[in-house]
């Protein structure tokens, strides 16, 4: 078990290092110097070469590529990704300020999405009537195929401008969280619901369900005490993908609802070509991904007792 965990940890570190290297190559070795981007396009031709050199030295862009790479890697290990070219703030600080907002939004959306997906799967399995069941089963594919930017706009239009229940610009507090969390949750819940729906149906037709019924359990009890856990275990493996969807969705949601957070920061940094910030965000996403997958990998044998005994292959 320990060797297994260490192996997974080693792989996770390699992935993070790979993400750093790739982002360095893509971002810092672009033909345009990041310094030039500080100036409006029409002034770029008239930059004082002397001042340009000094700024390059200040940011460390004048040294050989490999030296820059090692320097930044070493600094990155300490959590230092340089300073934002746009605002002059350290990258780590900018991310640190934006992160809590996004974590709250993503967590709220994840809870909403999971609850929704679970209820869809549960109800669709519980119902005896075939056409009602089919009706509910057709909801998740609909959600998957709905673009989230359109959904966000529709939600604002209805609940802020027409009904006036929630503010269109997401401020602090719970009231401001409701609309963006819902807008983010709906597209994320689609794939989870599809997965759970299928798992519920396969698990519900397994033989142990007959055994539970023969004990005298009611249908709801059978679903809650027997089927639920078996059906939701495979959804854990989707953890990494779901985190990716949440972060990608946050970019759009936070922009639409003008909510401060990693998504907004990303959008602004990319628009301004603020290279250090973009790299900082890339690293954050990579670390999130890898951490979630690592936790899933390591905890899976704990939640599914069968995995502790790994069977051998067919031929020795």
């Amino acid at each position: 078990m320990l060797t297994y965990a260490l192996l997974k940890l080693g792989r996770a570190l390699i992935v993070v290092w790979g993400a750093f290297t790739a982002s360095f190559i893509l971002l810092y070795l672009m033909p345009a110097s990041p310094i030039e981007l500080l100036f409006p396009p029409n002034e770029r031709a008239s930059i004082d070469p002397q001042a340009f050199k000094e700024m390059e030295r200040a940011y460390g862009f004048d040294r050989p590529t490999w030296e820059q790479y090692l320097d930044r890697l070493l600094a990155g290990l300490h959590g230092d990704f340089g300073t934002s070219v746009g605002t002059g703030k350290p990258v780590i600080e900018a991310i640190g300020e934006a992160l809590p907002n996004t974590v709250i939004l993503a967590a709220a959306a994840l809870v909403l999405a999971s609850l929704f997906a679970l209820s869809v799967a549960w109800v669709a399995t519980y119902l005896e009537s075939a056409w009602l069941r089919n009706l509910i089963s057709s909801v998740p594919p609909l959600l998957v195929s709905f673009p989230s930017f359109l959904l966000g706009l529709i939600i604002i239009k209805i609940f802020s401008f027409q009904l006036g229940w929630f503010p269109p610009i997401s401020g602090d507090g719970l009231r401001g969280l409701v609309l963006p969390a819902a807008a983010l949750a709906i597209p994320v819940s689609g794939p989870i619901a599809q997965l759970l729906l299928r798992n519920f149906q396969t698990e519900y037709s397994s033989p142990y369900v007959l055994t539970s019924y023969s004990k005298g359990l009611r249908k709801g009890q059978v679903l809650n005490t027997e089927v639920l856990r078996n059906a939701s275990l495979p959804a854990l493996t989707q953890g990494g993908i779901i985190v990716g969807e949440l972060l990608a969705g946050a970019v759009i949601t936070e922009t639409i609802f003008s909510r401060a957070g990693i998504g907004r920061l990303t959008e602004e940094a990319v628009r301004a070509q603020d290279v250090p910030v973009v790299q900082g965000i890339v690293m954050l996403v990579a670390v999130c991904f890898v951490t979630v997958n690592f936790i899933v990998d390591v905890s899976y044998p704990l939640v599914d007792p069968r995995l502790k005994a790994i069977p051998k292959g067919v031929t020795a």
Partner: protein, 558 residues
């Protein structure tokens, strides 16, 4: 008053866009207190459908006609929630395959307590559990595990299903079925997946429960031997209908129905003589070319000689090494053209030895000599002389291949010089050999019945004209009458192609029919070895006697 009665019950399965198919047609049947009734029939006879209707566990696409009475209530077509108060407390159910009938992610104790909690909830005011109540439930759980014949309930309580053997899981299921103190037990092939000795213990135990608790038992089995040994009344079903009904001796001595008589003839436990091969007409010109082109057939006296073969498997769990001796100095010889059976219960090391002989697993020590040659053969050379037929034909045949392609796949791999058209002709010859009509050449494996699929697997094994065929439980998954046909076919093919069989089985009845010599294995070592008649007729070892004694129907004479 009957515990359970069926009156003119019809059950259909509906599928969208298709005609409903009738699984049970006009069955009437009753079970009295303290009575053991068995329903005997082959797969597809509707026996499982019938008994599941009595506990409301049919799939949603089923339609029931007629009357099913439990405790004087007409229960046909009830919903799960309406049925819930009868299940467990009035009627207990022991499901078919213990391997999959328990929830894999829940400890045994909790699965049993679910059933108990349901019964013991009555009369309590608080909806949540308290300490004393939990203690009470746990004590009850221990009591029922013991009642089901599990000696150390404390140890089993916290275990997960995958940590128990098949027999133990079946006992847990019996404990669950008994925990509601039902008046009627319905058991769907409760012992079919188990070893004979375990089967005997569990059936004995059910007998004891019937006598002590006076419950009625409705037992479904495909094994006529089991039914004849145990039942007060036997009901024979075929194609959804009852074809015959009577006591054991009535069925055994005075079976009126032709199908019942055929079942009696096919039951291997009731036979004594060996099968005699019938000659089959083989105009196998093409097939002969396959053989002639490559290697000469061996002429040594012994086709397989296994000398002092040992194999130990080690696994690490939680930092502790466990080692299992799968083979411990195993030796036996198989004469060319003869059938040698390896018999033993699961875990005896039969399959390990077969895999070592086939070169799929390397032995730790010892020697395997094939066709008198001592040197190790390459994979390619091995597969020309030695082929396998496995237990489950569906999982060993690629469902996307046509039968013709399946049968000639070994030729395609080994003999690039044989063209597509010749291969097709060879496929048809092989189908002739295994007595499958040519029209099946275009079918896919999924469209065949179990017996047909096993014929295809046998044809595939024969396509390279091997000297040795290893039959790994090759007939164990088949219905008795199909089993009898396949065994006859194997005997015919052995004579026609001069094959040597290494026959692995847990079923001593089949050994008697089919094998010239037998080695009885237990925990990796050979207990007793010799020719079939002397080992089975006059066993020297206790273990062999126990095995022979456990074969259902072995005490009966036709």
């Amino acid at each position: 008053m009957s515990l359970l009665s069926f009156t003119d019950v019809n059950i259909w399965y509906t599928r969208r866009g298709e005609q409903p198919s009738q699984a049970v047609a006009g069955v009437s049947l009753a079970v009295e207190p303290g009575e053991l009734v068995t329903i005997v029939g082959e797969s597809g006879s509707g026996k499982s459908t019938l008994i599941r209707s009595a506990i409301g566990l049919l799939p949603v696409n089923s339609r029931i006609g007629g009357e099913i009475r439990l405790d004087n209530a007409s229960v046909a077509g009830w919903s799960h929630n309406r049925f819930a108060r009868y299940r467990g407390t009035y009627v207990g159910f022991i499901p078919q395959d213990p391997g999959v009938a328990l929830n894999p992610v829940k400890p045994i104790g909790r699965q049993l307590e679910d059933a108990l909690r349901n019964r013991l909830r009555g009369g309590r005011l608080l909806p949540f559990g308290n300490g004393a109540h939990r203690q009470h439930i746990r004590r009850e759980a221990f009591r029922f595990l013991e009642l089901a014949g599990l000696p150390a309930p404390e140890a089993i309580y916290a275990k997960y299903p995958h940590e128990l053997s098949g027999g133990m899981k079946q006992r847990v299921l019996i404990a669950i079925a008994l925990s509601g103190e039902p008046k009627l037990l319905i058991a769907d092939e409760p012992t079919s997946a188990l070893d004979v000795t375990v089967q005997k213990q569990i059936l004995d135990h059910l007998d004891v429960l019937r006598e002590e608790l006076g419950i009625g038992i409705l037992l479904v089995t495909h094994d006529l031997g089991v039914a004849l040994d145990r039942a007060d009344r036997i009901v024979v079903m075929r194609h959804g209908r009852v074809v015959e009904e009577g006591t054991s001796s009535e069925i055994l001595h005075g079976a009126r129905d032709g199908y019942t008589r055929r079942l009696l003839e096919a039951a291997p436990g009731l036979h004594t003589g060996r099968l005699t091969p019938r000659s089959i007409d083989l105009s196998s010109l093409k097939l002969a070319r396959v053989a002639a082109g490559e290697h000469e057939r061996g002429t040594s006296e012994h086709a397989i000689e296994v000398t002092d073969v040992s194999k130990t498997f080690t696994t690490r769990r939680g930092g502790v090494e466990h080692s299992v001796k799968a083979a411990d100095e195993v030796s036996f010889k198989v004469k060319s053209g003869a059938t040698h059976a390896l018999v033993g219960e699961s875990g005896a090391g039969k399959s390990t030895i077969a895999r070592i002989v086939a070169g799929l697993t390397a032995a730790d020590s010892g020697e395997v000599r094939l066709l008198g040659q001592a040197e190790r053969w390459s994979r390619k050379r091995l597969s020309r002389s030695l082929q396998f037929v496995y237990q489950n034909p569906y999982s060993s045949l690629d469902p996307r291949f046509s039968v013709a392609d399946l049968v000639t796949e070994p030729i395609r791999v080994h003999r690039g010089d044989i063209g597509r058209r010749d291969r097709h002709e060879i496929a048809l010859e092989l189908l002739d050999g295994v007595q499958l009509p040519h029209k099946y050449a275009k079918h896919r494996a999924g469209e065949l019945s179990g017996g047909q699929a096993q014929r295809v697997a046998i044809a595939r094994a024969l396509s390279l004209n091997p000297e040795i065929v290893i039959l790994d439980e090759a007939v164990s998954a088949l219905d008795v009458s199909v089993q009898a046909e396949i065994l006859q076919l194997l005997a015919d093919l052995q004579a026609a192609y001069s094959l040597t069989y290494l026959f692995i089985t847990h079923d001593l009845g089949v050994v008697k029919l089919f094998a010239d010599a037998v080695s009885v294995l237990r925990a990796g070592s050979v207990v007793e070895s010799g020719d079939t008649a002397s080992v089975l007729g006059n066993p020297q070892e206790e273990y062999t006697k126990l095995l022979i004694d456990s074969v259902p129907g072995s005490h009966l004479t036709v």
